[in-house]
């Protein structure tokens, strides 16, 4: 065997082993075929293929892959490669090119002399590209990946130094094969950035000399831009003390390596970002869990009062919350608060506010005094975080006949008075917490009459936006309370929350929603079954209302189930006619909502509907009997409503609302 051949075999054997963890042997003409490679016995099929000088597709035998490669048909000379590996990563072409090269080396010594060096280099480069994919698959972090790449590249090209400079928003970082720091990396990055192709020393020299960089004095220098998805992510480069050592083949190699490495860096960065956002998501979930666990697990029971609370954060974690505690004298204390400034800092502060409220409420009785203390305690933390808190604290009287409240800059609370069916607003009685450490607060005493409702809410409720840019406002909120009274507090809260969804009309929730409702029970109304509802003013949604009414049939005080169903069906039809008519005429394509309630009394079925559409116009023509020979195409709705109901009243309320009152008498139905 030729000396050159031996030299080549010596190089490729360990390369193959390091690439594949397998083994490789060379068989020349006249030589003996081996019985084993690296202690692995050649399977019979492989031995047969060697004898037949066949070119085998990878042969999988007992979990290993075997190749028998003979020279390409147009090459003379007889050299075969037999190789095995534990997995096949497309090695066939690599083995084929090696075999061909060995064949040339054996048969054409003269040619081989000239070609050997170039070919070995070419194989090394081919192998380098295989290795690159290997590194990309295994390296978990960008710095270690870049380290492997520069070291690998330094084995393949003849250069004293190989380096990579990466650039991101935070600046640049460099990695070198020698481990020595790289000088003037920013000059390299800036210059390659504008050109976008490999640059040699001659082109870089003026720029390097301008900043007196020692790089201007090296023998040869070559850099190429690392580009991934169109963005420059860095520079890869070679340096040597020998002048002019980087010829065009090296330029070509570096350009193709740069392309690959650019893609790898991009992919690695994307992976890091993905992992980071997953980690953040996970942490937010934990934070949301902690926040939810801070809410009271149960609400106090007070005779004569109903108490309901609701919270929905707009994001994982929010700044709105509510809490309950017991005053020094035993009465329930309620708090609804909004930490201004969303996101993590606000979320952490909510925990502090919770703790301060619970701790201090135990020793106090007066809401104003409690706010004053909380403000003093929280002020340093809030000031540091550049945050403030609006909060309202309510102490309910044990007899359920009233409450006192104090409000630290919180949005006006709603007090709905049953007797007047009107809303009173309970304004702030001091500054938000965290503004002035010596702020003073005032408490107000309020009496509750049967049926009265106190609603604490956060601004996410009144500032809910619709697609036209309108906000629900206090008016919208009191409309809902008005239309759904006297449904149970829990039902009313449910309709308020539904109304917010209807009002946003598909817009995402932008702000947290927190609600607390206290309702003084009214004995006269407790027996009535009241079912509140809200639907968008669109024909498509009338069905929801029809379903609601039909499903109420089991609540009707009628013995026959068939009759109950019939009464419910008829009432549903009547409501459907009224509501469809309202939507078509009072809204005529404009957005809006219809609120209301169905009430089932002992002798009446009643529907009250409210909307802010145009006033109802009664038909200008009297209803005449239908002529069987020429029946009208329209106008059956009013006939149905008249025939199905005992009473239909419509009135225009103060402030531009329509109220429909539909009654079906149940006495005499059976």
């Amino acid at each position: 065997m030729d000396v050159d051949l031996l030299g080549i075999v010596k190089r490729i054997k360990p390369l193959w082993q390091s690439l594949t963890d397998g083994g490789l042997c060379v068989i020349t003409e006249g030589g003996n075929s081996p019985g084993s490679i690296r202690g692995k016995k050649l399977p019979a099929t492989v031995r047969h293929a060697v004898r037949e000088k066949a070119r085998l597709e990878p042969l999988e035998i007992r979990g290993n892959f075997w190749w028998v490669i003979s020279p390409s048909p147009y090459l003379r000379g007889q050299v075969q490669l037999v190789a095995w590996a534990t997995e096949d990563r497309g090695w066939k072409d690599l083995l084929q090119s090696w075999t061909d090269m060995l064949t040339i080396a054996c048969s054409e010594t003269a040619v081989a002399d000239r070609l050997t060096e170039a070919l070995v280099e070419a194989w090394d480069r081919l192998t380098f590209l295989y290795e690159l994919t290997h590194i990309a698959g295994h390296a978990t972090e960008l710095p270690s990946m870049l380290n492997s790449i520069v070291r690998l590249l330094s084995q393949v090209v003849s250069a004293e130094e190989v380096f990579i400079v990466t650039v991101d928003d935070a600046g640049w970082e460099s990695v070198t094969a020698s481990g020595q720091p790289l000088v003037s990396p920013s000059v390299l990055v800036e210059n390659v950035y504008y050109v976008g192709r490999p640059l040699g020393l001659a082109e870089l020299k003026p720029a390097l000399e301008r900043v007196d960089s020692p790089l201007a004095e090296v023998g040869d220098l070559l850099i190429a831009p690392l580009i991934g998805e169109g963005d420059l992510s860095g520079v890869i480069g070679l340096m040597d003390s020998q002048e002019g050592c980087f010829d065009s083949s090296v330029v070509q190699l570096l350009a193709s390596v740069a392309e690959q490495v650019g893609g790898l860096i991009q992919a690695a960065k994307a992976r890091v970002e993905r992992e980071e956002s997953q980690r953040l998501e996970h942490e937010l979930e934990i934070a949301a869990g902690i926040q939810a666990s801070l809410l009271p697990t149960s609400l106090p029971q007070i005779p004569g009062l109903e108490l309901v609370a609701y919270l929905r954060p707009a994001h994982h974690i929010g700044g709105d919350f509510y809490d309950v505690a017991e005053a020094k004298t035993g009465e329930p204390m309620l708090m609804l608060a909004d930490v201004a400034g969303k996101g993590s800092p606000a979320a952490i502060l909510t925990a502090v506010v919770h703790a301060t409220f619970r701790g201090e409420a135990l020793h106090r009785r007066d809401p104003a005094e409690l706010l004053r203390l909380m403000n003093r305690l929280l002020h340093p933390d809030l000031e540091k975080a550049e945050a403030f808190v609006t909060a309202v604290i309510v102490r309910l009287e044990s007899d359920g006949r009233g409450f006192s409240y104090a409000s630290a800059g919180h949005a006006d609370c709603v007090l709905w008075r049953r007797r007047e069916e009107k809303v009173e607003l309970l304004g702030a009685t001091g500054l938000p917490l965290g503004i002035d450490s010596s702020a003073i607060y005032r408490s107000e005493q309020i009496t509750l009459d049967p049926g009265d409702i106190l609603l604490l809410y956060s601004d996410g409720v009144t500032e809910a936006e619709n697609p036209d840019g309108g906000i629900l406002g206090l008016q919208g909120l009191s409309d809902i309370i008005d239309a759904t009274y006297p449904a149970r507090a829990e039902e009313q809260i449910k309709v308020i929350v539904e109304s917010l969804d209807v009002y946003r009309h598909g817009l995402p929730l932008r702000d947290d929603v927190a609600l607390m409702m206290v309702r003084a029970l009214n004995k006269d109304e407790e027996k009535a079954k009241v079912f509140p509802f809200v639907i968008p003013a669109e024909v498509l949604f009338v069905r929801q209302l029809v379903d609601l009414v039909r499903n109420l049939s089991s609540n009707l005080p009628i013995r026959s189930s068939k009759l109950r169903r019939q009464v419910a069906d008829n009432f549903a039809l009547a409501i459907s006619e009224v509501v469809t008519n309202q939507i078509q005429h009072a809204f005529s394509g404009q957005e809006g909502q219809i609120h209301g309630r169905i009430s089932i009394g002992s002798s009446q079925l009643i529907a009250d509907l409210y909307d802010r559409g145009a006033p109802f116009q009664p038909p200008d023509r009297p209803i005449v009997p239908v002529d069987p020979d020429d029946p009208p195409e329209r106008g059956y709705g009013l006939r149905l409503v008249r025939g199905l109901l005992d009473r239909v009243e419509t009135r225009r309320l103060e402030g531009g609302r329509n109220h429909w009152h539909l009654v079906k008498e149940l006495t005499g139905v059976e």
Partner: protein, 117 residues
């Protein structure tokens, strides 16, 4: 959405079978379907209300509109098997005097056994 099945049991006869609700949201498609059939010169159309569990005034208007279109082309429109809800709506609007109502599609085809209001 409401489904409408169409059958052609005999030459010149068409059975139209809407399913579910015929209300303000879906009546237009029934109206369009009936007018389209009238254009084809059908002699007799039977709207089978068996699978209609809710009909409102828009649904009734669609039936009247279909009836008028058929009459113009010399055809008739009969109803069969209305459920309690539909029958109530027809009676309250006195449309039970306008439409012949049958107990089944077969009866309507034979034009026998009118469902007596």
């Amino acid at each position: 959405m409401m489904n409408i099945d169409i059958e052609y049991p005999q030459s010149g006869h068409v059975v139209v079978r809407p399913h579910g609700r015929v209300d303000a949201d879906s009546a237009q498609s029934l109206k369009d379907k009936l007018r389209e059939i009238a254009q084809t010169g059908a002699e007799s159309v039977i709207v089978d209300l068996h699978a209609v569990d809710f009909i409102d005034s828009s649904g009734l208007s669609a039936l009247v509109s279909g009836l008028k279109a058929l009459r113009q082309h010399g055809g008739v429109l009969n109803l069969s098997q209305p459920q309690t809800q539909a029958l109530t709506a027809l009676r309250l609007t006195m449309l039970d005097r306008v439409f012949p109502i049958f107990t089944s599609v077969e009866e309507a085809l034979n034009e026998g056994d009118l469902l007596k209001p």
